[in-house]
């Protein structure tokens, strides 16, 4: 383990990251609120810490090995999560404790969208902007950005890329070089954000809301600048825009790239993962709509329709915007939606959860067992997009699934041990592990009432979810540290 190399990269990253605290200063100046000092303090603190880390080891340029790649990725998210909390800590308007600040920051970076802050509407614009911006940076993975930048500084990126990409297949690249791939992904990400902000603006938001909400929409984050989330606007046009862009961001970005290159929508139609993704969204919407309508929860059909569609897309893609208090929907619907968030977005998207492709592979294997019972001598290949899936990928999917369930169970039991009721504990762990955001019960709107210990645990759960468990888990094993 070459710790100096890791220190060098982290130092550099902190320096780069510190500059993300400057746009809020600009926003503060534009909107004339007087709370820009926390950002300047935060900038200086993070910048100086970064320089101190980087300077003594600035010449230690070496290629990263596999293990160091894991460690760097884990440290990126933890260290950035903590340093991102600095402005929250320094802010007089917020007056929050360390754990709350870190929770808010990690929730933003992991694009979870769980908040501990109440009274968003009265906060200074600069702080609101900063929260949204953190989500946006977290969305595509700061690392992908780092991968695009760091090669210029003399560090290879393959290890980072692999430890960071969501989804079971880690080697897929859009271009031969990672740098090119990272660049393309960021271009798509940026293009979506600009389009989304424009659409929101045209649908009736003011400029500040349009831009900030586009950040959290494309990142599949779910932070809002209002306590009532998207419900604040009560505009069908805005909800529609949100639905469209959440659906786009929940799909695989490589797919968008392929579709754009071939200029045809067939690409989406041909992709098994996308087909299941679409199928799930439509089916869930129909179920919710039917149940809401026949239970007479909302007055009109169109009202039920908009609420059902918005909540299904928002929860199932793990965004976490709300237009209505869905946790009070009748019967099985809230739990159904939380289960939908376990499926989550597609591989290679900004969404959380286990990813549609894994669920598809699990289902296909289940089906294979059924077929095997019927035809004991049959050889059955698991195929995706008409191509066989390698055996080690299938095994990895099973491994992932079992660990995901185990982590979920353990965390839920620990939370219940701290005195939380079952519904809250279940939904809080699901909402953080799947990077969803709002849960049910006491955490339906925010996480303010949760105890300090539970907040730390949920921070860990968010990081586990964002790093798809193994990357973080592997660093915590003794075998990883053996020489």
């Amino acid at each position: 383990m070459q710790l100096f190399v890791i220190q060098r990269i982290l130092g550099l990253l902190l320096v780069i990251f510190s500059f993300s605290m400057l746009p809020p200063v600009l926003v503060g100046l534009i909107y004339d609120d007087l709370s820009i000092t926390p950002f300047i303090k935060g900038f200086l603190l993070v910048f100086i810490v970064g320089i101190i880390m980087w300077f003594p080891v600035r010449d230690r340029k070496r290629e990263l090995r596999l293990r160091e790649g894991f460690l760097v990725v884990v440290l990126f998210w933890t260290v950035l999560g903590i340093s991102g909390a600095a402005p929250f800590m320094f802010s007089n308007a917020l007056q929050i404790s360390l754990v709350d600040a870190v929770f808010e920051s990690i929730s933003a970076l992991t694009t979870t969208g769980a908040t501990v802050i109440v009274g968003l509407d009265d906060l200074p614009k600069s702080i609101l902007f900063y929260r949204q911006q953190l989500q946006w940076l977290g969305g595509m993975g700061i690392i992908v950005l780092a991968v695009a930048i760091l090669p210029m500084l003399g560090i290879g990126g393959i290890q980072l890329y692999r430890a960071e990409t969501p989804g079971p297949v880690k080697d897929s690249k859009l271009t031969p070089r990672i740098k090119g791939t990272a660049k393309l992904l960021w271009i798509i990400y940026l293009a979506f954000t600009v389009a989304c902000a424009l659409a929101y603006y045209l649908a009736g938001m003011d400029i500040f809301d349009a831009v900030t909400h586009s950040f959290s929409t494309i990142a599949i984050g779910g932070f809002s600048t209002h306590d009532a989330s998207m419900g604040y606007f009560s505009s069908h046009a805005i909800e529609l825009v949100a639905v469209v862009f959440m659906l786009l961001s929940g799909a695989n970005f490589s797919l968008h790239f392929m579709a754009w290159r071939s200029l045809s929508l067939k690409t989406y139609q041909m992709d098994s993962e996308f087909r299941l993704y679409g199928f799930l969204m439509i089916t869930l919407t129909i179920i919710c709509l039917a149940y809401l309508y026949f239970m007479h929860i909302y007055g009109s059909f169109s009202e039920s329709y908009y609420h059902a569609m918005f909540q299904v897309v928002s929860i199932a893609t793990t965004t976490g915007f709300t237009t209505t208090d869905y946790s009070h929907w009748p019967g099985f619907l809230p739990v159904l939606l939380v289960f939908a968030s376990f499926v989550g977005g597609c591989a290679g998207s900004t969404g959380g959860g286990m990813k549609v492709i894994r669920v598809l592979l699990l289902f296909k294997q289940g089906w294979r067992e059924v077929l095997r019972l019927i035809h004991p001598n049959a050889r059955i290949a698991i195929k995706l997009n008409k191509k066989p899936v390698e055996r080690n990928i299938i095994q990895a999917v099973w491994g992932f699934f079992s660990v995901y369930v185990a982590v979920f169970t353990v965390f839920m039991l620990i939370l219940m041990a701290t005195g939380m009721d079952q519904v809250t504990a279940f939904s809080a762990v699901a909402a953080t592990l799947n990077n969803l955001g709002p849960g049910l019960g006491e955490v339906a709107a925010n996480y303010k009432g949760v105890g300090d210990f539970s907040k730390w645990l949920l921070c860990l759960s968010m990081l586990l979810g964002r790093l798809e468990i193994f990357t973080l888990l592997v660093v915590l094993t003794p075998a990883f540290w053996k020489k």
Partner: protein, 458 residues
Amino acid sequence: MNIVILGAGQVGSSLARSLASEDNDITIIDTDKSSLRELREKLDVHTQLGYASHPDILEMANANDADMLIAVTNSDEVNMMACQIAYSLFRTPTRIARVRAAGYLKHQELFTPELIPVDVLISPEQLITDHIYRLISNPGTLQVIDFADGKVRLVSVKAFHEGPLVGHEIQKIIEHLPEVKVRVAAIFRKGKAIIPSGHTVIKPNDEIFVIASAQHIRAVVSELRSVDKPYKRIMIAGGGNVGRRLADALEEGRYKVKIIEKSPEVATQLAESLDKTIVLEGDAADESLLLEENIEDVDIFCALTNDDEANILSAMLAKRLGASKVMSLVNRTVYVDLVESGNIDHAISPQHITIGALLTHVRGGDIVSVHSLRKGAAEVIEVVAHGDKENSRVVGRKRVDLKLPPGATVGSIVRDNEVIIPHQDTVIEENDHLILFLSDKRYIPAVEKMFQVGLGYI
């Protein structure tokens, strides 16, 4: 540049490694999953599983956008077919193929865009044979490279105590050899490159790269080490592709050649095709055979079978039995350093030789030839200066004013068939061939750029 490489064998993968480190987009096609996985994990390249000549596979490997296709699979036919398909379907601008069979190579007229659209044919066996032949005809050198049609020669020599110049400053060479135009381009001391000035002192065991006109090389080498007398008696182990070609070439050069071949059929064939060479049937590692054939009088013993271990062992045996110099063909790159640190005088790496030849075509237009030195750590390039004072960053400028990247030196200039060893004030003229020595190959693009002519030039 966007490059598609067909075949992830030894040449393919070392080429990929070499090119990927220079900011190129590389895609490699092969049918072997595990070697592709290995490449993918070690290098920042794209890999594609499948048959290299199949159009759908080529399309998936993005042959559409490729600037160059390099076909180095094991099969000549696949290589040629892939070039044909790349040309017909994807209009790939540059196509390079490895073709081994002499039957194809004899008919160069086949390789035109209308028939078999291969731009550059690479025949590793021929390249290796030429390389060994140059080493044999320049005793005492580690590497010999010709520039400007053989007028200028760069040799690498290991300095020994006996050499008159060893222990002295480089500028002394002018006193020793007043007639000779010579330049010490670089010195590798303990594996690290030193850019020499006139005051650099040559130490024993330095590996020294000297540029001089071809007829003076012997005199220069003799300054650095005790001169080996010209080789006369040569023994070759292995009558394969390389061994046969080498024997054939050496015969014409009036050397006395003995060749040992294990297989009776091949030995018979050799005996039939070669005139003066003595063909011996037997095992090259057979002590009694070697002694019987007077191994102690052999000037150089060349182990050239396709089996690394057999080559190394038979070369070591020959050395112990009294051969004055031994050489071994070593395919595995990791073995090369191992072997050279032992008592084998030359370890020939076919990969490095082939890659050097391929690199010439990967480099930009004005570069005439590229040779990799020291297992690819450094390169020598021959480049032509075009343009005039207005649009070129080179022509019309003094040597000292050239903005060369760090580690680059101008070894010599060839102007109208004359070799010039440039002084500080030598002005570069149009159509000069410059021989540049680069000890850090990361700066190659910078050199390429420097020699590009500005917009005004047509």
